[in-house]
């Protein structure tokens, strides 16, 4: 029973992490229809930039985190402007853009490995406080992971609802052609969602850096779960991405109660399989 409670808590924490990854990825995917696989290494670059700022330049942690966010934002916008946009302008088929994205994924991941080496980078001198509720424990990082989802999720929801740019994003998510027809500059909106989505991804990246350390291939699992969360939740729905992320985190961890750890990502795929079988449009689309 104690183990079960611990797994439940871990599921909630990891679910928050996946949910935030899904929100950033889903915002980009839902709005622009670009399957931005390079979201993974952009996320990793966020972690490595924060590590550089903290470990090499001696920035205080909070400032180092902001450096990570800034770096991911710049890299995300650059990948749109330099790589995706030329294809979008030529009306290239989706799969061509997909290949380009995979290419960028490999390029960026290798660049990170060349620049930083393949050993694990940790921020020395940081150790998260550990807290207990009865037999279950959690750390400061776990709290930050949950809090960051709540704060950024609510802020994004308010932005989408209340601002003109937010409404433009909603319109483009629904129908990009119509968005152009009513006078929305879809190029500007694309730049904006790449900026916001990439910035969001850097927050869980920095928290993972503090929790587990950074590795060059850390982006793969990040974009993998982000993609799953979005597809499970329903493309174009922010709430869907959040719930999809939670579902993955919960199933994965609670599954470990009875199933060996090696099966963790397989379980995620099985969830995806069954959800799509029953609801091909995703769990929460159209609600």
């Amino acid at each position: 029973m104690d183990l079960f409670l611990q797994l439940l808590l871990n599921g909630f924490v990891n679910g928050s992490h996946y949910a935030l990854l899904g929100v950033g990825f889903g915002l980009i995917f839902g709005t622009t229809n670009i399957v931005h696989f390079a979201y993974g290494p952009v996320y990793a670059a966020g972690a490595y930039s924060a590590w550089t700022a903290a470990a090499l330049l001696g920035f205080p942690l909070f400032l180092a985190g902001l450096t990570g966010v800034a770096a991911a934002t710049v890299l995300g916008v650059a990948s749109y402007l330099l790589l995706y946009r030329p294809f979008v302008r030529r009306d290239a088929p989706t799969f061509v853009v997909l290949i380009a994205s995979l290419g960028l994924f490999i390029l960026l991941e290798n660049l990170i490995a060349i620049l930083f080496g393949t050993d694990k980078k940790v921020v020395d001198g940081y150790s998260a406080g550990i807290h207990f509720i009865g037999p279950t424990f959690y750390t400061d990082i776990h709290i930050y992971q949950i809090a960051s989802l709540m704060i950024l999720g609510l802020a994004l929801a308010a932005f989408l609802r209340l601002t003109n740019y937010g409404k433009a994003i909603q319109a483009m998510t629904d129908n990009a052609d119509m968005a152009r027809v009513i006078g929305i500059d879809t190029n500007k909106v694309s730049i904006l969602v790449f900026a916001i989505g990439s910035a969001i991804s850097a927050v869980p990246a920095v928290l993972i850096l503090l929790r587990d350390g950074a590795l060059p291939n850390m982006g793969f699992i990040a974009v993998f779960v982000a993609f799953l969360a979005v597809v499970v939740g329903g493309v174009g729905s922010i709430l869907g991405a959040v719930l999809g992320g939670f579902l993955l985190g919960m199933v994965e961890n609670v599954g470990m109660w009875q199933i060996p750890t090696e099966w963790q990502s397989t379980i995620a795929f099985i969830v995806l399989f069954f959800v799509l079988l029953v609801r091909p449009q995703g769990l929460f689309k159209g609600t």
Partner: protein, 236 residues
């Protein structure tokens, strides 16, 4: 040609290397209703999209109020007073009727006029008022077309380009939509450039007609002669 509100000069448009609209000239005067006819695949939609800046032109020019606007972004054209109602219900299907109309006014900076402008649309299409909170995609085909026209009205255009507004509508609705286009033209002085296959209801409201055949203009003049089926058939 300088008194034209919107003018197209020797415009060629295509996809890749293929040209589907060949050196078309077209003029639209202030407050005029011009109907464009032509067989399926004649290039009507292509021509309208190119005028509005949705696709690239190969050669020729588009002039608006005497200024060249060829290849200008749709966003700038909307700001300048040109509205576009695309072929096949151009609405946001997942958003409410009200949200659709608000988005229609996206480029309008003065938000205080929003309610007033929406009221104007509701007066023209009372059904939209009744359905204000309904999701766009669940409206009937005719209601969706009214919503699409209502959205275009929300930014108070000087020119409205409509691509087959009657497509897929029952005859009584076609008449209803044509009448509202005529009302928009008369009440607000909006010039209308309309692609329409429904000759029976489209021609009577037009002041002038043009016919496209495999991408070339083969007729430009008064609509009345085209009401004769034999005459029309020769052009198709």
């Amino acid at each position: 040609m300088s008194e034209q509100l919107l003018a197209v000069e020797r415009l060629s448009v295509g996809y890749g290397k293929k040209t589907v609209v060949h050196e078309v000239d077209l003029g639209l005067a202030e407050r005029e209703i011009l109907i464009v006819l032509g067989h399926n695949g004649a290039g009507k939609t292509t021509l309208m999209q190119a005028i509005f800046g949705l696709i690239r032109t190969q050669s020729g020019r588009v002039l608006y109020r005497g200024e060249p606007i060829t290849g200008r972004k749709p966003a700038d054209n909307v700001l300048g007073g040109i509205a576009y109602v695309p072929q096949g219900h151009g609405i946001f299907r997942s958003l409410t009727v009200r949200a659709n109309l608000e988005l229609g006014a996206f480029v309008v900076r003065d938000r205080s006029r929003l309610e007033e402008d929406m009221e104007t649309v509701f007066e023209m299409f009372p059904i939209l008022r009744e359905r204000a909170t309904q999701i766009g995609g669940t409206l009937s085909g005719g209601q969706q077309q009214m919503l699409a026209i209502g959205m275009a009205l929300m930014h108070k255009p000087s020119v409205m380009i409509l691509d087959e507004p009657s497509i897929g509508l029952a005859p009584n609705l076609v008449e209803r939509v044509m009448r509202s286009i005529q009302t928009i033209n008369r009440e607000f002085g909006t010039a209308i450039l309309m692609v329409e296959q429904n000759v029976r209801y489209g021609l009577p409201i037009a002041q002038r007609a043009a016919v496209l055949k495999t991408g070339r203009k083969v007729y430009d003049g008064p609509p009345e002669p085209l009401e004769d089926r034999v005459e029309l058939m020769k052009l198709f």
